[in-house]
Amino acid sequence: MTEEIIIAGFGGQGVLSMGKILAYSGVMQNKEVSWMPSYGPEMRGGTANVTVIISDERISSPILNAFDTAIILNQQSMDKFEKSVKPGGLLIYDPNGLTRFPERTDINIYSIEAADEAARQGLSKIFNMVVLGGFLKLKPLVAPEFIHKGLQKSLPARHHALIPENEKAIEIGKGLLKPVHVLA
């Protein structure tokens, strides 16, 4: 099993930390992982993305141009990464703030209204965990017990009291997915 994922959105949405929690959870489940962030001028201009690879085997290139899954949280990232999903792959997006929606017909597409729902429930700061929940519902790569361990490892000890809230956000996300285009 190898899953190659791009998570892309605005700086501040928790894109990099979502990737880190996913990657650390993979480590806890004894998987090989890599986490490759954008750190350059594009990040300083406001957008952020991270490539996460989770595999049972040694990981070759941490840099990719085609992905099994794209998790897309703003318009610039949709424009940049919709075409990078492998045929038959998965695209999950939050429609909040989008003006152009994905058009591909050779991939599975789901929307998740995570930003709105997180705001309604007072969980805006961990909106990224709502999105992660949606992803894990479709691709349960890492078991919940290892997500728990991943959160423990990723978050500084002073924030460990917030772990139950993060896990609640993940559960909420699992119920928010809407199929947009599903392959037969």
């Binding site: 990657a23 890599s34 986490w35 490759m36 962030p37 001028p41 941490p62």
Partner: protein, 360 residues
């Protein structure tokens, strides 16, 4: 088994330095390696092991603090990125001349000049051919993973002391910034002053009545004396060439074509191998791990049994010169590179193989 963590390459370098028993880190911030000192400052090794962490006023100051620290036998290191490493070249040459052990980490970014903050491999010549003046070499290690970033710190310190030479880790912004799982080796205690005196009889750390002064210098105005220094250095480099070559071969057994690449490029080539083999192209990878000493014989042994070689580097063609010198001219050898902070994608590498080597 040691402690398992998910870490950035830069963080792994910093943690490995503490655990290797390093006595002092001296540096000056620059993207994309600033996490090395950030991690050290947060981790407070001055409380954990007594290791000094100091932000120097410049890279020139940092490298000369290394000269001073190493001169007393202390285990010292610095890290920087390309423009900062250029500023250190004079100090590195002096350390090679004075035979001082130290570890220098270059998290390379695109150049020339201030260039960009994105990853590059354009400092190969500077590291391997001597960016500073004079006939000197450094042992140069090229890690391709966060695990190797950690392991090469310990290896680098070991070799620096074994040969009394500066050692460089030549990595890049991508490996510095990316996180992978890493198994950390256990803490090695810092050497006591008595152990330093015993293990470094050449060091300038207080003269007992039983011996002459130890003088740390790279200056000898007598040409005969300076030639003796040079002959000694060359003999040391010859020993390194005989004993310290490290490399990795991946899927070379049945290979009809060969990628030669180091560091991040080698990782990209591994993915390119999967893509090419899915198309029926039998290609393998030769990855030099030491760039000096270069695996001359080893790459020639593999390279002379294939139909063509593509050297993949994030520069305009630097290591290819060493590959050509090693393999000779019977096999077609071409270069593929991207510059200025652009990272080649695996399918781009396969296309280059098809166009420049197979179809070319």
């Amino acid at each position: 088994m040691g402690e398992l963590r998910l870490m950035k390459g830069n963080e792994a370098v910093a943690e490995a330095a503490i655990r290797a028993g390093c006595d002092g880190y001296f540096g000056y911030p620059i993207t994309p390696q600033s996490e090395v000192m950030e991690y050290l400052m947060a981790e407070k090794p001055f409380e954990r092991t007594g290791m000094v962490v100091l932000q120097a006023e410049s890279e020139v100051a940092a490298i000369n603090m290394l000269y001073g620290g190493a001169g007393t036998g202390k285990m010292v290191m610095t890290s920087s990125s390309s423009p900062g490493i250029s500023l250190m070249q004079e100090g590195i040459s002096y350390m090679a001349g004075a035979e001082l052990p130290a570890l220098i980490v270059n998290i390379v970014r695109g150049g020339p000049g201030l260039g960009t903050i994105q990853p590059s491999q354009a400092d190969y010549f500077q590291a391997v051919k001597g960016g500073g003046h004079g006939d000197y070499k450094m042992l140069v290690l090229a890690p391709a993973s966060v695990q190797e970033m950690c392991d090469h710190v310990k290896l680098g310190f070991d070799k620096a002391y074994q040969y009394r030479t500066p050692v460089m880790i030549l990595s890049d912004g991508a490996i510095g910034q990316m996180m992978e799982k890493v198994v950390l080796f256990d803490q090695i205690p810092r050497r006591t002053d008595a152990e330093v005196i015993e293990q470094c009889p050449w060091a300038s750390n207080g003269r007992p009545a039983t011996r002459d002064h130890n003088i740390i210098t790279s200056l000898d105005l007598d040409p005969a004396g300076q030639e003796r220094v040079n002959l000694k250095l060359q003999a040391k480099y010859k020993l390194m060439e005989q004993n310290e070559v490290l490399y990795e071969e991946i899927q070379c057994e049945d290979a009809e074509y060969l990628f030669v690449a180091f560091g991040l490029s080698a990782r990209i080539c591994q993915k390119a191998i999967d893509l090419a083999r899915a198309k029926g192209i039998k290609v393998g990878l030769f990855r030099p791990i030491t760039l000096f000493p270069f695996p001359v014989i080893e790459v020639s042994n593999v390279g002379n049994h294939v139909k063509g070689i593509l050297v993949v580097e994030m520069n305009a063609g630097q290591m290819i010169e060493d590959v050509k010198l090693s393999v000779g001219c019977k096999v077609k050898i071409e270069h593929f590179g991207r510059f200025g902070g652009i990272i080649p994608s695996p399918d781009e590498v396969v296309r280059a193989l098809e166009q420049q080597i197979i179809g070319g």
